[in-house]
């Protein structure tokens, strides 16, 4: 009788756990509470004229801006809603345009891990893999390669900094799901600037918010290694350092104030990297920065046109920071592209006002269509045409003097 009661009680607990716990785990992301129809935050370009081509011979800095899931129609929808059909987003004023093919080693429709790896290493890999060839061999990323040449490096994202795209530039793992491992690799790589979300994989398992299975405290390790660590916009504004770790949420960012915007993160990253010195050796030789508008993809997976527009415009304002710096500096190459398109977005109707442009979706997943590339700065013309996403990496490597490329690591 006692045994029966105990078995019954255990069954009830088991059923309750199967019903409740997985649901809580599935939806623990802080959903932004924001009016997605309010685009007043966006400052459009005064002119629609293209920025001038640069005549400088040498590329000193590269800022690679990746809109996750940002196909040509995501750009078009954001432009229509924000500026009307005759306007231009900031990214659309870059003087060089091209198209990039995105298929992975095993699939026509790529994911961010395989596409990020293609752009960072110059090789095709299987969906889900980060910084490795399909056979598991390890390839150097463009970030790692320029770091050995003395350039400062940085990664900025509105997702967890251990998410697939930023991970592809500073980690090598078989699966994008290995985020605790990715976070450790990012820190071990001594990347100057890491700004985004994902604090939960930096905390030791003893912390109730941790998503690690070991007791490594990557934030404490970062501090010991000389990093300044920040969690708020005000701390970010005031910090002066050459090594900066900023983790503003446990998972992805909310992209809502008081959190720092992607534009603010980008501006700060440029400021740190530009001034990054290495002790007595003085100023560095330049920098490589990757900035990701991560949540365009998320909005498109939900077929949410308003959020897609908002996230694309937030990304465009971050690109504007890169453009402003590049125009002043003259030796900075800015490349804007995407890893893949998400949602199969088309714009079947609307008036010439543009603000009423309708969105139609053909998928909740990614698609295999080519994505746009826009470029500005020295040798930007090298990014014109129609080519493979691995070419982005190869062309950046050539312009930064890294040869041969791709580079397998022994």
């Amino acid at each position: 009788m006692v045994r029966t009661k105990r078995a019954l009680a255990m069954s009830v607990v088991f059923i309750a756990l199967t019903l409740i716990v997985p649901i809580v785990q599935a939806f623990d992301y802080p959903t932004p509470k924001v009016d997605t129809n309010d685009l007043s935050f966006y400052v459009p370009a005064i002119s629609t004229a293209p920025y001038p081509l640069t005549t400088a011979r040498k590329v000193k800095n590269v800022i690679l801006c990746i809109g996750d899931g940002m196909g040509l129609n995501q750009v078009a929808l954001a432009r229509l809603r924000a500026t009307g059909p005759e306007g231009k987003l900031h990214m659309e004023r870059l003087p060089v345009t091209g198209l990039v093919r995105t298929h992975s080693a095993n699939r026509l429709v790529t994911d961010s891990a395989a596409s990020g790896t293609a752009m960072s290493t110059g090789i095709k890999t299987k969906n889900g893999m980060i910084g490795l060839a399909p056979d598991g061999s390890r390839y150097r990323t463009i970030l790692e390669a320029v770091q050995t040449r003395g350039l400062a490096t940085g990664l900025v994202a509105t997702s967890a900094i251990s998410h697939a795209t930023p991970a592809s530039f500073g980690a090598h793992v078989k699966s994008r799901k290995m985020e605790a491992n990715i976070a450790a690799q990012l820190m071990d790589n001594r990347i100057n600037v890491l700004l985004g979300g994902g604090r939960k994989v930096f905390l030791p398992k003893s912390d109730p918010n941790s998503d690690r299975k070991d007791n490594r405290d990557l934030i404490a390790e970062a501090r010991e290694a000389g990093y300044a660590y920040v969690e708020t916009a005000s701390k970010l504004r005031s910090v002066q350092t050459s090594y900066l770790l900023g983790l503003f949420q446990l998972s992805g960012l909310t992209t809502v104030a008081p959190e720092p915007s992607l534009a603010m993160l980008t501006k700060k990253a440029i400021s740190v990297l530009r001034n990054a010195g290495d002790g007595a050796s003085g100023r560095r030789k330049g920098f490589f920065l990757m900035v990701e508008g991560s949540q365009i993809d998320w909005a498109c997976h939900s077929n949410d046109a308003e959020s897609c527009v908002r996230q694309t415009l937030l990304f465009d304002l971050a690109i504007k920071e890169a453009i402003d710096f590049a125009l002043k500096d003259g030796r900075t190459l800015v490349i804007v592209t995407a890893d893949h398109e998400t949602g199969g977005l088309t714009i079947p109707e609307g008036t010439l006002k543009g603000t009423d442009a309708k969105a139609k979706w053909s998928s909740g997943g990614h698609t295999g269509v080519p994505v746009p590339v826009f470029a500005l700065g020295p040798h930007a013309e090298r990014f014109a045409g129609v080519y493979d996403n691995t070419e982005l990496s190869k062309r950046m490597a050539q312009l930064l003097g890294v040869q041969p490329w791709p580079q397998e690591v022994e």
Partner: protein, 64 residues
């Protein structure tokens, strides 16, 4: 307590071939790609959500 919802996670790269309120049979493919998950039980799809952290669709199936 007779209700036992089953949760299935499917990588969000692929287009799903099922939708909310649809009846599914055990073993039925949920995503377009053959490597994707299949329905573990027969039932009705109660909800489909996108989990941003894991980049997966979270599908809740209510067994028939």
């Amino acid at each position: 307590m007779t209700e036992r919802r089953v949760i299935v996670r499917v990588d969000a790269t692929d287009h799903l071939v099922v939708q909310e309120s649809e009846k599914v049979c055990q073993g039925q493919r949920l995503g377009k790609d053959e490597t994707d998950a299949t329905a573990p039980v027969s039932g009705i799809i109660q909800s489909i959500r996108f989990d941003t952290s894991s980049h997966e669709f979270v599908i809740i199936v209510e067994p028939a």
